[in-house]
Amino acid sequence: MEDIIYKLVLKNAAGLTLLGTLRYRVTDIEVLAPAVEEDGADAKLFPTINVAIYLAEGTITIPLLTGLRALPVRGQSLITLVGAPVTTFMSRNAPEFDIAVQFNLVDDISIGGGFTRTVGALGTQVYSLLGTRSLIG
């Protein structure tokens, strides 16, 4: 599967705005079968659907935070059986850059979601994320 590329605008609650690039692809997963227990009685009050888990991996570049390096991220994409993505999580847990990105489709060319960066003493910084589909890296 080809890489999907989005130009990103990130914004935190104080209005700080950062630009970046997200590049990723979704592939079949090998062995990420979740340990699903039987649902409790509460959950059975609601209709349920089954959601397939795919592997998602790619890179994220946010020059003002990460420099020009494309940081590798890896995670899961949850996709319904009719092919609609539910949500995609990707993260990188390294001492220097402990980051996570999560997003959904907003319209045909846009993704909306968030980006978090955990810095030891400063705690977790949260940014909103708007991605606009880009055909070139």
Binding site: V36, D42, P47, V51, A52, N104, G113, T116, L129
Partner: protein
């Protein structure tokens, strides 16, 4: 019934920023049956089971749609470890609004809003919401 209120900040592609509010009620007591048909044939890949929980509420984005709260309704995709995804929609025929989000760190929600999707003035926003105390 649980109720949440968020002050939201929307971000457009050019950095245009719009403030707003979202107030949502999640009704854990009744089922949403409309998407039940989606529970379909088994696949040869890992699956998780997700419950669909109805969500209703209002959204106010003054600079986009005026001061009147827009009633919205939709679904929370609830996994075994908590909510995975919220999708709510509302608005009139030519001014549809779809808001979707997930929980993030520090009592925040992150996601996106599409406004007038498919129309010349339609646009998408990124969204960052900070949880507020409900007015008593």
């Amino acid at each position: 019934m649980e109720e949440f209120l968020y002050g939201v900040l929307l971000t457009g592609p050019q950095g245009l920023t719009l403030p707003g509010k979202a107030r949502l009620q999640i009704d854990f007591s009744a089922g949403a049956d409309s998407m039940e048909a989606l529970a379909a044939a088994p696949l040869q890949r890992p699956l998780i089971e997700v419950s669909l929980v109805p969500v209703t509420g209002t959204v106010v984005i003054p600079l986009l749609s005026g001061l009147a709260p827009i009633p919205v309704s939709g679904v929370c995709y609830l996994g075994l470890f908590g909510p995975l995804w919220f999708v709510v929609s509302g608005g009139a025929l030519f001014t549809p609004l779809v808001m979707q989000f997930n929980f993030s760190a520090n009592n925040t929600i992150i996601g996106g809003v599409s406004w007038r999707r498919g129309q010349p003035l339609g646009r998408a926003f990124g969204m960052l919401g900070t949880r507020l105390a409900l007015p008593s």
